[in-house]
Symmetry: C3
Subunit: 335 residues, 3 copies
């Protein structure tokens, strides 16, 4: 029984339409059928092809439809609706088959360890964690409560993970930092990496991400940091709260990234620099120096986004400007 009145209440929204209209499920705008609800962000998205029974939209979005729920933030509404209609089933319970758990390790109540996983000496896993299959947890790792760790993740020794952390498959936490001295002949000599990684609460770590352990201290991922797939975090890096790092970006050693930073995809940060709070970095940017709080930057090396965009317009027309120079030279000769 999920009529629009109830859904409107769940979403803390304002209903315009039939309160008794029954909804089966949430779906995408393109695919939602007559008994389904979808979110719509812009009026032009609501074409004649839309068949949804009801839409969730932002107040003052100008969208018109037979059944509407107005909300403050449609993306938050989407999150709530998916959790409501399509809750994720727990994958595993208890301890699976072919599992190794060291005698000195502790696993909290209601936590599960999937098949073929390995839990090393002195590991502490909190309550209500779900560790899937093929997960390798080295010695002395600490994991808080409610962790969801997907298959084939590797967590190296001494790593500390907070509460409610999600780690997608194949991620590696605590690999050695890339630190080498060079002897007189130029041969690289390994600097052993004996620090650790600390991950705060409510973080998400994407698939096949690599987070290197510090040389001597801690590589720090603060609370609520969200890291997309195939991201590289170098040794001794510090990432501030609620920062979001998109796919295939990389942060070089000892760099500090502030709070609420948004890094788009394939961004690179040089080593030993500081990125301020609230900074936004455009896709593919290469940042070679410090960036002040709330800056919006793009380019290699970075510059202010607006000035980068103006430069790009000029560069697209650079042939015309070169032509102008040539004309000027000719005219100058003639005079």
């Amino acid at each position: 029984m999920n009529n629009l009145k109830k859904l409107s209440e769940i979403l803390n929204g304002r209903l315009e339409g039939d309160p008794g209209f029954e909804i089966d499920v949430v779906n995408s705008l393109d695919n939602a059928g007559p008994a389904e609800i979808a979110i719509a962000v812009k009026p032009e998205m609501v074409t004649g092809k839309i068949n949804a029974g009801a839409l969730v939209v932002k107040e003052n979005s100008g969208i018109r439809y037979k059944n509407l729920i107005y909300v403050e933030d449609p993306f938050i509404a989407l999150s709530i609706l998916i959790s409501h209609f399509l809750p994720v089933e727990r994958f595993s319970y208890g301890i699976g088959k072919y599992v190794t758990i060291a005698d000195s390790a502790s696993v909290g109540d209601d936590s599960s360890i999937g098949d073929h996983s390995y839990v090393g000496e002195n590991v502490e896993i909190g309550k209500n964690c779900e560790i899937h299959s093929g997960v390798i947890i080295y010695n002395n790792v600490k994991i808080g409560e409610n962790a969801l760790i997907y298959s084939n993740v590797v967590i190296r020794e001494d790593v500390v993970i907070g509460n409610s952390v999600v780690i997608q498959p194949g991620a590696v936490i605590g690999s050695d930092g890339f630190g080498f001295a060079r002897d007189k002949s130029g041969k690289p000599l390994k600097i052993p990496q004996r620090g650790n990684v600390v991950i705060g609460d409510n973080c998400e770590i994407g698939a096949n991400v690599c987070i290197d352990r510090s040389t001597l201290d801690t590589t720090l991922i603060s609370d609520s940091v969200k890291i997309d797939n195939l991201v590289q975090i170098g040794h001794n890096v510090k990432v501030g709260e609620s920062t979001s790092i998109s796919a295939q970006s990389g942060i070089s050693g000892s760099t500090e990234v502030g709070k609420n930073v948004i890094m788009a995809g394939q961004v690179g940060l040089a080593d030993h620099i500081k990125i301020g709070d609230g900074v936004m970095i455009a896709a593919k940017a290469g940042i070679s120096g410090n960036v002040k709080d709330k800056s919006i930057v793009a380019g290699i090396p970075q510059q202010d986004l607006m000035s980068w965009k103006r430069s790009q317009v000029i560069l697209r027309n650079i042939e015309k400007y070169i032509e102008k120079i040539k004309i000027l030279e000719r005219k100058m000769e003639e005079k």
Copy 2:
């Protein structure tokens, strides 16, 4: 018994040389010995150092050698010759050790599951598949016939894979899309990702590739798509038939890529854009908007390849042009 007459027939080629000459194996041009065959693409590659017993070349390539087989496409010939002389041995038969297969799962005739692999509830695996070691297949996954899935691959719940798909080691199919709303305080709130991934027939997925599941619908990889190592495919992406994506490229959420597109390495595509059919994208390009059918593009953001190349020549000489401007200014002052 692989004499040149027989090989010429297998390759549907035209022989110029000794039909009875026996060949042991195919090898690279540099390393092929007197009883070996190699392909050569350009005349300048055939130097005095070449020892091959015979060469496969394209008609009208202008290459001269003691024994030649002329073919329409030397690369297709190479594919045929390697399959002929160096067939891949099947790695495994039957069900290995320490394997979990859920009672509700089905595994087709002549399919094998390697050691330490996991097959979840309701999984359906077709005939003649080869699943190697440490492969984790979550619930409700469907895999067609003739799949070749290398070790430590993870396939998340509800993923659908067609016939004759090859997945290299460490790839992750169906990881959560990177979708977060932000609450008023700026804290990220996860939008659960409950769609799936569908992979067509004859696809190849590279090592440590990540393909995210859709939020509510399907992330689609169409038939004959070839994906190189360390590529990232975001949620809700659609990739058209026979498209080829080189290493370390990334496609952001909801972007649609046409058929027969060729993406070089380290390319990035922004979210919610459309790339037409037959488009070619140069290495390292960053594509921020729609691209028309059959375009050839380069740069960040993208522009036509030829105009990008002309711009690059100018930029390499930009100091000279700036000097010209200064000279013009001086002369203008003088007049």
Copy 3:
């Protein structure tokens, strides 16, 4: 008993301070306490906040402190101090649980194989190797002595690995190269990849790195090459001795990289090119052609680093120069 006299001898350094002063451990400059030693590279790093009991510095660095050990190279000193105070404990001994080792495989004395690992037919593993958990070693692989292979690494058939090689978690060695012919209709046709990968002595391979096997010959990683996380090495590539490749860089097929090359992060090399010895490549560079010995290059496509830097300064001011052109045009009209 680690007093400064002893440490100074271990480091082959010159002590200025109290020879009997006891040191507990090495630590980072910021975190070192009164009984700890740290390295310092620049005078400005030694502020009033430093609490270390002693510092290791370079001769003539101009750093002043209560206890100093002068050395030729502080980074080599750091490597020695960490090995001295914080030796890495061996993770595993003997053969673990749920392990498969083929009858035809050989494992050298004092080598260990962790839980859930798989060792295929005819594999040869030398003395004193440490193979961790979930490692999959395909048939005919040869591994020298003293290898340290972390969890969930996959090593495909026929790969040859030298002595004292370290492979971080999740790396894939010997995946198929990305080689496809196209039939007349444009459909990709796989060129089977039947060569191998050879890795020399003293190499380090980062987490989730991918190294593709050659089509017919060998993809070669020479002695002492250091490869950071998430790097892609294409098929038939040759990398020379002591070269260092930073995170997320990629080398396309058949390219040859010289000795002692330093590649920064997110660099891309085109296929079939040659990079000379001692070359340095700046982060994010895209190299499309050959590069001579000892060059220092940056940009997409590459140019000399200094000329790239000067161009960048001009591009940052490009609006001003365009304005100058417009002024010149106006003045020219007026005359």
